[in-house]
């Protein structure tokens, strides 16, 4: 006997079934298309942006994100449940397609039946188990959402509709199967290949064939209607994420990570800068709102949200979506609110974890640009002062520009103006130039370079701020003024490599400056020193110590440099105790996004929270790779009142203490 089953059993495959069924399918698809066309029109309100280049690579990453659920699976628990549900539901969907394909096409027109024999057994078992997994996952996700209620999770009408629909579709599916099996398969060897169906069939078997047949036909239609309602509702509920989130994986920003779009300031016809209305945003920014599933992963990782500031990246995206679809003329800045926009540290924890490829930071920067460039508004007077200081003296601290190179005078480091024949240009940055604490880091770095026999030059008073904090605060004009100045100066000396001790300078020179015809190699000191040690140019004594290490946002998430600093710590003899939030989960020090210039006057202090995490490791040293982090931690350990037990240091300082003292060759 060939294993198979009669499709349309009991319902019939005549016109009375197929006619209404395909009519309903047609209606459903029309509603579906209509729904997305309406949304499509709203997406098109945004500014043009090309996100259909590199199609092969985009497709590949989309398939990985969707089919393999790679991004979803980065968070265990709900992510695992979602992935399992997705896979099982996807299998059920494929199974349904195969059934339709055979019944209404290959069998109908060509008498080809492929759901038979061993394949049918496998097919039956797979779908049956997939149904079970899907049912369990929906139940699990409902328990999480409605009983456990994780803090910060927003539950609305859409969630109830979605979960109930999925639940009833799955249950009715099993009832149909059970009713059919109770009449046709009970006692046959085939029944065991649908184990869940068999259980249902046994439970129903007492009803008698007549009742079972009536029940079967009713539930069959109910199941069909529910499935079609599900499809029709996709554009109108959060179910749309099936398509929008997947599509957003295709449209995702392909990097470089965290590089902002440069405004063309040469174009004199531009009268508006930044965004305060919907149509100032790019279409992707509006589409992002539709791709958001409110999974709150961004919110869970946002340092501003975690310390009681009004910013939630998720809510920001939701607000933009609500504006786009219900009040497109509204002022976006009023809708999202200034305190929200200024709170962001651009740490990119949100974008990094987002399973929907949403770009939160660009939206915030676009609105900050509008506030700064069109209104002259800042989060506070202190930021405006810092901007003015930078205009006058090239640093936000307001220190006299001519003393920028003073720290290096006694170290035998020459400025490029004095001697441009150097191996590397050390781009010192504002803090390491003027702040005594960070000058110690700069001195350590110089000592390491000198021990490696390298000729290091600096720009001295010709160096200015790279413009990063100003740019992140929205002051694109000042940033570009500084960038042009620096690029012209550096290029004038024909250096071949630049090293920075600041990840903000590094990220800016290495990514943002590339828009302006700047192609000199730039490295962060941890990467540079790691290489020097690996190739034997630099020798470090191993001397055991305990520490924890803070992945700065601009070295970590922005550049995925996690290993080089850890290699250095290991080389120096560091016993590293990781904080709970490390690497791509690292928690910002509070100073990114230009916040280094701003007063933190809402909620708890982020830096205090971070040093408390470091303190919890029990390690006596907190190693950093960034002058902003170091500055925040020096204040933070005092604010947290743990300055006796936790000492913030830069990795370069630890290495410089362990330099192998040796005679230089030839001396």
């Amino acid at each position: 006997m060939e294993f198979t089953r009669e499709i349309y059993w009991n319902v019939g495959q005549g016109f009375t079934t197929l006619g209404p069924m395909y009519f309903l399918v047609l209606v459903t698809l029309s509603v579906f298309v209509y729904g997305f066309i309406r949304r499509w029109r709203v997406y098109r309100l945004g500014q043009p942006l090309n996100r259909t280049d590199h199609r092969g690579a985009r497709l590949k990453s989309m398939l990985s994100h969707v089919l393999l659920q790679t991004k979803v699976l980065r968070v265990q628990g709900p992510g695992t449940m979602h992935a399992l549900f997705f896979w099982s539901f996807f299998i059920l969907f494929l199974g349904t397609i195969l059934i339709v394909l055979q019944a209404d096409f290959t069998d109908l027109f060509f008498d080809v039946v492929f759901l038979k024999g061993n394949f049918y057994k496998f097919f039956s078992l797979t779908l049956d188990l997939a149904g079970l997994v899907a049912l369990c996952m929906v139940a699990g996700l409902m328990i999480r959402r409605y009983l456990l209620r994780p803090p910060g999770l927003i539950t609305g009408r859409d969630d109830l509709i979605m979960h109930l629909l999925l639940l009833t579709i799955l249950i009715t599916g099993f009832l149909i199967e059970g009713a059919r099996m109770a009449v046709t398969e009970l006692g046959t060897p085939l029944a065991i290949w649908s184990p869940v169906g068999l259980v249902v069939a046994k439970a129903l078997s007492g009803l008698g064939e007549e009742a079972l047949r009536t029940l079967h036909v009713l539930i069959w239609w109910l199941h069909l209607v529910l499935a079609l309602v599900f499809i029709a509702l996709i554009p109108f509920t959060k179910l749309r994420h099936i398509f929008t989130t997947s599509a957003n994986s295709f449209f995702a920003d392909r990097g470089p990570t965290g590089k902002l779009t440069s405004i063309n300031l040469e174009d004199e016809t531009t009268e508006k800068f930044g965004a305060n209305e919907l149509d100032d945003l790019r279409w992707k920014d509006i589409f992002d709102a539709d791709a958001c599933t409110l999974c709150k992963r961004c919110q869970d990782r946002c340092p501003a949200y975690a310390t009681g500031k009004p910013l939630s990246p998720m809510q920001l995206v939701t607000q933009i979506g609500a504006t786009a679809f219900s009040n497109p003329g509204a002022n976006l800045i009023d809708v999202t609110s200034r305190d929200v926009l200024w709170a962001c540290t651009t740490c990119r924890a949100c974008e990094d974890i987002c399973p929907a490829s949403i770009e939160h930071v660009d939206k915030i920067i676009a609105m900050r640009r509008n506030l700064v460039l069109m209104e002259g508004e800042f989060p506070g007077e202190e930021v405006m002062t810092a901007m003015e200081q930078t205009e006058v003296n090239g640093n936000p601290l307001g220190m006299g520009y001519a003393s920028r190179g003073d720290w290096a005078e006694s170290l035998g480091v020459k400025t490029l103006a004095e001697d441009s024949a150097v191996d590397i240009l050390y781009f010192v940055g504002c803090y390491a130039s003027f702040d005594k604490r960070n000058i110690a880091v700069a001195r350590s770095f110089i000592a390491l370079c000198q021990a490696a026999g390298l000729r290091v030059g600096i720009l001295g008073k010709e160096e200015k701020c790279c413009g990063e904090p100003m740019r992140k605060m929205g002051n694109e004009y000042l940033y570009q003024t500084l960038a042009m100045d620096m690029i012209e100066t550096i290029k004038g000396y024909g250096v071949s490599q630049i090293v920075t001790t600041c990840p903000h300078c590094f990220n800016t020179l290495n990514k943002d400056y590339r828009d302006f015809d700047f192609d000199i190699k730039v490295e962060h000191h941890t990467v540079f020193l790691d290489r020097l040690i690996k190739d034997g140019t630099l020798r470090i004594n191993r001397d055991v110590f305990s520490c924890t290490y803070h992945d700065s946002c601009y070295l970590g998430r922005h550049n995925e440099i996690y290993e080089a600093p850890r290699n250095l710590i290991q080389t120096a003899g560091g016993r590293l105790t990781e904080m709970e939030k490390n690497r791509d989960q690292g928690f910002c020090c509070s100073a990114g996004g230009g916040r280094i210039m701003a007063e933190e006057n809402i909620g708890e202090r982020i830096n205090v929270k971070r040093v408390q995490m470091a303190g919890a490791t029990g390690a006596p040293q907190l190693l950093a790779n960034c002058p902003f982090c170091l500055t925040m931690f020096e204040d933070g350990v005092k604010g947290a009142e743990i300055e006796e037990s936790l000492r913030p240091r830069d990795i370069a300082e630890v290495l410089a203490e362990r330099l192998v003292v040796q005679d230089t060759p030839g001396s």
């Binding site: 002062t385 005594k436 933190e600 006057n601 202090r605 500055t631 204040d635 005092k638 009142e641 300055e643």
Partner: protein, 305 residues
């Protein structure tokens, strides 16, 4: 040499700083007369001629009227030097007199060197000694730059003066200084608390010192972060940027944002156990001491002055 000292009367009171004018004249070794639009009931203690216009007739400050009264006295006395305070009264009236007399005006004199006035330049970073080329010279004196060791004494011989000039600038009254709230950006003396104080209870030591010095207290960011001092008193680029005459940093090591927010203060005293603390870079005086022990001693001695 003959000087005319221009004393001030405001808000119903003689401004006692007139003693600084006398001190200046003494240092110059000049014979002096005094000019005052004030009240006959409250005369400066001064041995010499006091040209007095009655404030009830001419107003506490009316530029055109006071200018005319003063020019009349100058015409009569023919002083080589006319000396004002560098004050809201002095810097307003002095240039009017200088223009009328076609005289050189030298502002904010802080010292006399070889008989020549010295003035600060660029927030007192530099100094300039000036020679006047006109027969008469108008000077304004920096507050507190000249002082007497003892209280002024003497009784002036009063000469009543009058004018019929009227002015175009009308002073209709005064608004008292705000007492509620604190504006550290305009405070003259700031005592600032750092983590070196050890525990929140010790903030009281800073309050006490600020009170004796008739100033305000502030704090570094970590102290504010720890909740020992309210937020609006944070000093630094991410808080208040301040420029007092005297800034006393108590147990503050000096993070860059803090330094950038207070280093324009005229005179900076740092109290810290760590001689190498960055605050030393901007301090005029660095007291190497444990602030917890030192502050009570200092405050007590100041109270007993």
């Amino acid at each position: 040499m003959k000087t005319l000292l221009v004393a001030e009367f405001r808000e119903g009171k003689l401004r006692v700083e007139y003693s600084q004018l006398i001190a200046f004249a003494q240092e110059l070794g000049a014979e002096s007369a005094m000019f005052l639009v004030g009240s006959p009931d409250e005369l400066p203690r001064f041995d010499g001629t006091l040209y007095l216009a009655d404030v009830n007739s001419y107003g506490e400050y009316n530029p055109a009227v006071h200018k005319q009264l003063l020019l009349d006295v100058i015409a009569k006395e023919q002083p080589e030097t006319i000396v004002f305070h560098h004050s809201s009264y002095g810097w307003d009236l002095a240039p009017r007199i200088a223009i009328a007399l076609k005289a050189a005006q030298i502002s904010e004199v802080v010292a006399i060197e070889d008989g020549k006035p010295v003035v600060p330049v660029c927030n007192a970073k530099l100094r300039r000694t000036i020679t006047s080329r006109t027969p008469q010279t108008v000077l304004t004196l920096q507050a507190g730059a000249f002082g007497m060791d003892e209280e002024p004494s003497g009784t002036p011989s009063v000469v009543q003066i009058d004018t019929d000039t009227t002015g175009t600038v009308l002073c209709s009254g005064y608004e008292a200084a705000k007492t509620e709230g604190v504006d550290l950006s305009k405070t003259e003396v700031i005592v600032s608390a750092g983590r070196g104080l050890g525990k929140p209870e010790n903030i009281a030591m800073v309050h006490a010192l600020a009170k004796v010095l008739r100033g305000e207290y502030g704090a570094s960011r970590p102290v504010v972060d720890a909740g020992w001092v309210e937020h609006n008193r944070q000093i630094g680029t991410t808080g208040n940027t301040v420029t007092p005459r005297l800034y006393i940093a108590c147990g503050i090591s000096g993070a860059i944002q803090h330094l950038a927010g207070m280093k324009k203060s005229d005179f900076i005293v740092a109290i810290n156990t760590d001689k190498d603390a960055p605050i030393g870079e901007v301090a005029d005086v660095f007291v190497v001491a444990d602030v917890k022990q030192f502050l009570p001693v200092l405050t007590e001695k100041l109270q007993n002055l």
